[in-house]
Amino acid sequence: MQSRFYLSLLLISSLVLLTFVAIATYSALTPEWKQYQTEYKDFLIKNAKDEATRERAEKIDIGIQQIYLTSMKKADRCTSCHRGVENPLMANAEQPHRQHSGNYLENHPVAKFGCTICHRGQGQAMNLREAHGEEHTHWDFPIMPIKYIQSSCALCHDFEMLKHEGGGHVAKGEEFFRGKGCRGCHKLNGVGGDLGKALDGIGSRARAYFPMKHVVGDRTIYNWVKQHFDDPRQIVPESEMRAFLTGEESDLLTTYVLTFTSEQMPRNYMLIKNIVMPRTDGESLYKMYCIACHSDGKASIYDEILKRTIPAIMNPSFLKAIDDNYLKKILKEGRQGTQMTAWKVDAAGLTEQEIDRIIEYIAKDRPAAKTEPFDVAKFKADVKRGEELFNIRCALCHGKKGEGDLGLNLKNPVVQAADPAFLAVTVRDGRAGTPMPPFGKDGVGLIEQDIADIVSYVKTLSQKKL
């Protein structure tokens, strides 16, 4: 009886193995690419316009196609399904058989460039799902959506050339990037603020680096970057990023940001036609590093995201009250307790010269007339009287304890550390272009003693609890 048991066991296990062998044989003999190549061949035979073409079509060998790029150790087998990619007879065929669009392949022959340098995806894969590397294939760089494809052009070409020769989107994205003040918060090549993450290599980072939880659709880095530009707080709820872009602008910026890859292309692939020196005039620098928060610098606005009033640094009455040396100190050291970064060379990385140019640009509208100085030391300030005056005159906008409302938060370290004379001048002359009116003889009519009292009280606000 025992031998019968073992014989049955052998029979069953052998049959199971046979079934697996049969399945494996079947799937090895009918891969996806073989079906596509048969379609390709049949299409060409059917649509041959002369006998010679038909004969050549009939001679097509069906087999795995591969482009191997020695200098990059890349093997792209995409042409196993996309066999018609260089064939003008396939110009109007359906995918995967269609010829490559445009004239890109004239200068980028498939045999030298393969496919994945530009399109990404998993070149070695032999079926659509894995080759395109979309959701659930665990491939970090799935196929690049066509609307961002120009980011690949910038791997080898300069933006000046791209602007004129078919890379308009990515070139425009680069221009946007320079003009939107992105580097006010993000470091790139070691220069930039530190409120946001550094952007180096972001285009070739692994998927796991990005918090994908709130991304709608496929969880790819392309969708992450795009949707994060559209609405940063939708993707990263605690984000303080100030991005207010139209859909088109965020597409362009996404395209540009994806050019920040950590790989370097081999030299024989690079084609740099123009060496463009980065612009270092004050205005360009202001746009690159400051504009995201300070916008045009003309009006101070309470910012809902940063939870503070952003000072109007190009406002003439502000400039009138503050001299270049003080501005420079602020730029170099930043403002502790606020989002203002220290821009000196060993922090955010701007050189002394660049800081000077920015200041020159900011201060270009400084009124010629000097502010009448306010000698605070001359007055014996009375804090108690200051408090009474403060409650009548200032609390409405600045809050009962100076915590800020319509007006600035006066408890913040910037105000607390400021020179009393500077504060006194501001109270006396007001801040044109902001809701702060002049309280001196030209306005509300307080005498200098009153102002000195108020300033002395303001200086004590940091010790007050809310």
Binding site: S3, R4, L7, S8, L10, L11, S13, S14, L15, L17, L18, V21, A22, A24, T25, A28, L44, A52, T53, R56, A57, I60, G63, I64, Q66, I67, Y68, L69, T70, K73, A75, R77, E86, N87, P88, L89, P109, A111
Partner: protein
């Protein structure tokens, strides 16, 4: 199976079970073995293809001699058709240059006639000839990985 448990009905039940079991086992093992033998030879190799595009037939009117940049191959077109001859000297691999009489190697003076046959110098073998093929759309390709007998010329439409 050896105890010969036969009766009039032919194979006994146990014999049938044994036969089927061993038969299936052998079949399955052979199948699995055959399947794994498929992996001995690779479908594709990690190396650059030696096949390259040379353009349309219109670019090669009769009488053309062309060397292809970076590929060390000469393409000729005469009355008998198109042919591709390697420019790599069979002696030590220098790149030969065309002369009146055929080819000359700059390194050790090997000489070849117009068909690549050795007519002087240390070269041991004639220059290789390569296969030329035509894609469906008419584009011509030379495959420097596929040698063909010397004298093979191709006529294309």
């Amino acid at each position: 199976m050896s105890n010969g448990n036969r009766n009039e009905e032919g194979v006994s039940r146990r014999d049938f079970l044994g036969l089927a079991a061993f038969g299936a086992a052998i079949l399955a093992s052979l199948g699995a073995l055959a399947g794994s033998l498929r992996f001995v030879k690779s479908n594709v190799y990690s190396e650059e293809s030696k096949k390259f595009k040379i353009g349309k037939i219109e670019n090669f009117p009769i009488g053309t001699t062309r060397s292809i940049d970076g590929k060390s191959v000469f393409i000729f077109s005469d009355d008998n058709g198109l042919f591709a001859i390697s420019a790599v000297c069979t002696h030590l691999g220098c790149i030969v240059y065309p002369t009146e009489a055929g080819f000359q190697c700059p390194c050790h003076g090997s000489k070849y006639n117009q068909d690549g046959k050795v007519i002087g110098g240390p070269a041991p073998r004639p220059l290789e000839w390569f296969e030329i093929s035509q894609e469906v759309d008419g584009t011509l390709f030379v495959d420097a990985g596929k040698a063909v007998p010397n004298g093979t010329k191709y006529i294309f439409a």
